[in-house]
């Protein structure tokens, strides 16, 4: 109840396909049982093929979004190129670990394609920055149990972008429908080597 990770609610998931990745989240922001906003996105872009998903305590989601915007902007100025997903993952990890004894209450996920080789990359973190490198999918948020069940049964390797979109959407939708703190809309990003497609899904509103 007073667990900081489940005051506001929300879930996110990322998957790897054939030369593509997808990352998705719900849109709910609540205060305990009361829904406050149905337009609270939890996926943020840093560079053109690199995304960060943040679930957990909403104030920390906003703080970290701004922190990483600041840090990746500085990175871009110094390196004269956008940040790579692997690099962002290490940046997230070290930023979270700086607060080892007073953590941000978030479960971040990173997904993207390498800027040169377009190699798919996804990973997840705990709240103090331990990286979980996964080859297939990463889940986070209040519906993470449900997402594990959905992803483990629906996922298969080497899906084409459109198939991956269907898989990640079904995984997210059915998972959040079994979680009272997630849902109220959903958004999916499909990232391929030459474009990023964002789709807003029609979902149950309860």
């Amino acid at each position: 109840m007073s667990d900081p990770f489940s005051i506001n609610g929300g879930s996110a998931v990322a998957m790897v396909g054939k030369d593509c990745i997808a990352i998705a989240s719900d849109l709910r922001l609540g205060n305990q049982s009361l829904g406050v906003s149905n337009n609270f996105e939890k996926i943020f872009g840093f560079g053109d093929k690199c995304f960060l998903g943040l679930t957990g305590l909403a104030t920390d989601v906003l703080t970290l979004k701004e922190t990483f915007r600041f840090k990746t902007n500085l990175y871009k100025l110094r390196e004269e190129r956008s940040i790579e997903p692997e690099t962002l993952a290490n940046l997230v990890s070290s930023t979270l670990y700086e607060r080892r004894f007073g953590p941000y209450f978030v479960s971040p996920i990173v997904a993207g394609l390498g800027h040169k080789d377009n190699k798919p990359f996804i990973c997840g973190f705990d709240s103090i920055g331990c990286i979980d490198f996964a080859k297939d999918f990463i889940v986070s948020g209040t519906a993470s149990d449900q997402l594990y069940g959905m992803c483990e049964s629906l996922y298969e390797p080497d899906l084409e972008p459109e198939q991956l979109f269907e898989t990640i959407s079904q995984a997210l939708l059915n998972a959040v429908d079994r979680d009272a703190l997630s849902g109220w809309g959903a958004v999916v990003y499909i990232v391929t080597k030459d474009k990023v497609v964002k789709r807003v899904l029609k979902t149950r509103q309860d």
């Binding site: 449900q146 483990e152 059915n174």
Partner: protein
């Protein structure tokens, strides 16, 4: 002059009374799942039994044929589960004596189990109970309960440790939730249909191998009891043992 020798246990003297508390419950893990078809019903459960991080048994069946073409499971605290099922079996025996061996319909069994559970409202059986069988029309039926007897007839239900992993999968694959007919812009739902026994077995096996992959309390083996008009049949499939 001191005549007594200091006791070895002098530091064992307590200034406050020692408090004791007995915890009557534990969690023995495992997960169960029931699906009703048109003319059949299945109840499935893994065969692992745990206590803490230790595996007590890799084959401890928890789906039981309780007679009258009804299968039953009570997953959670194993001792309570066994006690509940034994009690139901016992009562079914008495029912038969009183009713000249007449068959107990599943809806009557369902209501009776509610009373067994609610009878211990203030010291509950710590279990998620499922029963499966055929109704009066011969259609598949699954009933599910909370620990104190609130119950409902459903097409499908997962219970136990990995219920949260399996239930959304069942919503999606049995009741076709969030599935729409392509080209209708999400306005026309995919129509419901009864699944065949073969399809149901495949779903159950997928559900359990997925749950086994991600949940430490689930694994070792999968035992499925299938109820048809011809009686109860059992199938066994191995699951990962790690």
């Amino acid at each position: 002059m001191q005549t007594t020798v200091a006791s070895e246990y002098s530091n064992e003297i307590h200034s406050v009374p020692i408090e004791h508390r007995f915890n009557p419950y534990s969690d023995n893990g495992g997960t169960v799942l029931g699906i009703a078809g048109e003319d059949f019903a299945v109840l499935a459960g893994d065969t692992r039994q745990v206590e803490g991080y230790s595996i007590q048994s890799r084959y401890e069946p928890k789906i039981f044929d309780v007679g009258d073409n009804i299968v039953m499971t009570a997953n959670g605290f194993a001792a309570d589960g066994v006690a509940l099922i034994d009690k139901f079996r016992q009562q079914l025996k008495w029912y038969k004596f009183d009713n000249f061996g007449g068959k107990l319909e599943i809806k009557s069994a369902a209501r009776y189990i509610q009373h067994l559970l609610y009878g211990k409202r203030f010291f509950p059986y710590y279990v998620s109970t499922l029963i499966a069988g055929l109704d009066e029309e011969g259609k598949g039926a699954v009933y599910s309960y909370d620990p104190v007897g609130s119950y409902e007839r459903e097409q499908c239900r997962a219970g136990g440790a990995a219920a949260s992993l399996i239930m959304p999968f069942l919503d999606n694959q049995v009741n076709f939730k969030n599935q729409f007919i392509p080209g209708t812009d999400g306005k026309e739902k995919k129509p419901l249909k009864y699944l065949t026994l073969e399809e149901v077995i495949e779903l159950v096996r997928d559900a359990f191998s997925s749950a086994t992959e991600r949940h430490i309390y689930v694994g070792d083996g999968l035992e499925i009891k299938i109820v048809t008009k011809d009686g109860v049949r059992t199938e066994y499939y191995p699951l990962k043992r790690d």
